[in-house]
Subunit: 359 residues, 2 copies
């Protein structure tokens, strides 16, 4: 499949116009665009403009409210709970993160649980908002159930990512952003396109047996938690995914487990919801709430340098630091543009036609 | 190897006497004993009285201060940093958790970073202290380097466990407590005793190659992060272990990465330390800082019931909830006593001889 290259500016302008056509305020359109584009820049293609049409379809299905009245429904000095009013997670999560940062300025840390939201893009974006304030940022979200817990046939958890960003002094920041599964959906889609098989340990059949079928999710199969199988500690990945689900939804009042609303608008909503919408959880910790910021940041530099300089195994140039691959991608794509696959370009073209926009 | 069964009371009394002989205050001796015994009760044999002799040796080597002056060196409304004065982590971590709980009562959440500590026992004990206050408890610690990051030959991280405890209403609490590696050291020791091989994906050789040698750590090999290899997302386990290291040590001013002091007293301390002692990080979040406690706890009950009732794969009776196996163990062992392996009994006997105690 061919890639076409687009300039960041062009994609940014177009994406923003689409959000405006949905009825988003200029401020919200800009924020949502920034989150999507940051995914494309960072090389997380599954979470960038490739999803724009999905958000539009959710809006058309009246599952996304383009003009949400986002508000705090509960708070303490270091916490808040946000009702996202069915808005775009792309807008609600940064709003919540700003509250976490403001709380941290006063209380040392700030923690915000979010209900009644939708898909929030890449977890990393929100955690990284803390960096410029010399804070550590934390972000996580639940998602519709595709993952089978250890010993389960049923899909009970989403890919439930966690992101943690840590400020530094001279080194680039530490940014870990990862799903709590062995492989996320996007990797299976790539294999299906190439007509290749999945490694054992990524997915299981409807009955819970190991399989190499990269298309097994469409046949009732499930993704596996980080760890793959019991022998390799899949129960730890199951714990992690569960923790994300509980922080994001049981704490906020959103849906959890198999009740989390799906991203594709054609998939029916789960019956008898146990909460409102998708849930997220974000946090900010002032590093100088623990020790002088310069000490922390200098030691982060030292941490990064020591790990980067550890002896690599044969055939590898160096040991990577969380955030390195995404930073490399961003450097390249800011210069050379963002490559999009043909089906993504077609989707964007169809959005241009729908909204009478130029693409 | 034969097991001998001991009553909880007898082990408790003996362990407490050993800590008193080390010079611990009665209060500290009781606290340290409680943490060790909770590991034996919960079936985490590697972290119970089997380690008592190790703590005594650290004290003999003057690496543990039995009469520490534990104090807060920095704080904000929701945070504190503790200097453990080289005391037992078994005493320092519960002390820090109490501060986190007190902070949470006022600020909604409380977060405490700890430096200048030692091995703190099972992570789960500290997180569970929050439960009776209707709080979620979080606990993590770094440990001496046995784990090779993805692409690294060198051991750079400890098994760095994370524990999260969530209060419930009618169901028993959710308690996840797990190392961020595919397998922890204890499992390898069991295989070595049985002269069995380790599954591929648990360990690597000194050169970074896959191996089934359960004794490879003694030959310069390394444990692998949760995920095992790059194809199965070991980089996510590497991220997790790194996050625990940074929260525990870069935030607190303890040693991190390859500088973390070892548990065995005969292993030399790493040169040129970058901080003080071992580091931990604990936190407590009042659930009613986010929503009414009854709502949260009822939804936790519902979460647990739904997951417990998910359809198991063939050959499995049911899907487990984090904390189930440990709870089963505790029920059984409170009734039938705690089984100890012969070498552990010998170690305890040698402690009895050393301190003129009855065992």
């Amino acid at each position: 499949m061919q890639n076409m290259i687009f300039s960041v500016d062009k994609l940014q302008k177009f994406t923003q116009e689409v959000f405006l056509k949905m009825g988003c305020s200029p401020e919200h359109a800009q924020q949502a665009t920034q989150v999507l584009l940051s995914a494309d820049l960072r090389g997380i293609d599954s979470h960038g403009v490739a999803r724009l049409i999905g958000y539009v379809r959710l809006w058309e299905a009246e599952r996304v409210n383009a003009q949400p009245d986002i508000k705090i429904v509960h708070e303490t000095p270091s916490t808040a709970t946000i009702d996202g009013d069915r808005g775009l997670g792309l807008v609600i999560a940064p709003y919540a993160m700003k509250i976490a940062i403001e709380k941290a300025k006063v209380a040392g840390t700030g923690w915000v649980a979010i209900k009644n939201s939708n898909h929030y893009g890449i977890a990393g974006y929100h955690s990284m908002m803390a960096l410029e304030h010399d804070m550590m940022g934390i972000s996580m979200t639940n998602a519709s159930a595709l993952v089978a817990p250890t010993f389960s046939q049923e899909r009970m958890l989403g890919t439930n990512p966690i992101a943690v960003a840590c400020p530094t002094n001279e080194e680039p920041p530490f940014v870990a952003d990862f799903s709590t599964t062995t492989a996320a959906n996007g990797k299976l889609e790539i294999l299906q396109r190439k007509e290749e098989e999945a490694p054992i340990g990524w997915v299981q059949t409807k009955e819970g047996h190991p399989t190499e079928d990269a298309g097994i999710l469409k046949k009732g199969g499930a993704l596996l938690p980080l760890g793959s199988d019991r022998v390799h500690s899949s129960h730890k990945g199951y714990c992690l995914g569960s923790i994300v689900d509980i922080f994001s939804a049981v704490l906020s009042g959103a849906n959890y487990g198999p009740w989390v609303p799906p991203f594709p608008s054609y998939v029916p909503l789960p019956e008898n919801p146990v909460g409102e919408g998708v849930g997220h959880f974000v946090g900010a910790m002032r590093v100088d709430a623990f020790r002088p910021a310069e000490d922390y940041k200098n030691h982060m530099d030292n941490w990064i340098r020591r790990f980067r300089n550890s002896t690599p195994v044969e055939g590898q140039k160096k040991v990577l630091i969380p955030g390195d691959p995404e930073r490399e991608s961003e450097k390249l794509r800011r210069k050379e543009g963002i490559p999009l696959l043909e089906p993504v370009v077609k989707d964007l073209q169809s959005l241009a036609d729908k909204f009478n926009l130029e693409f």
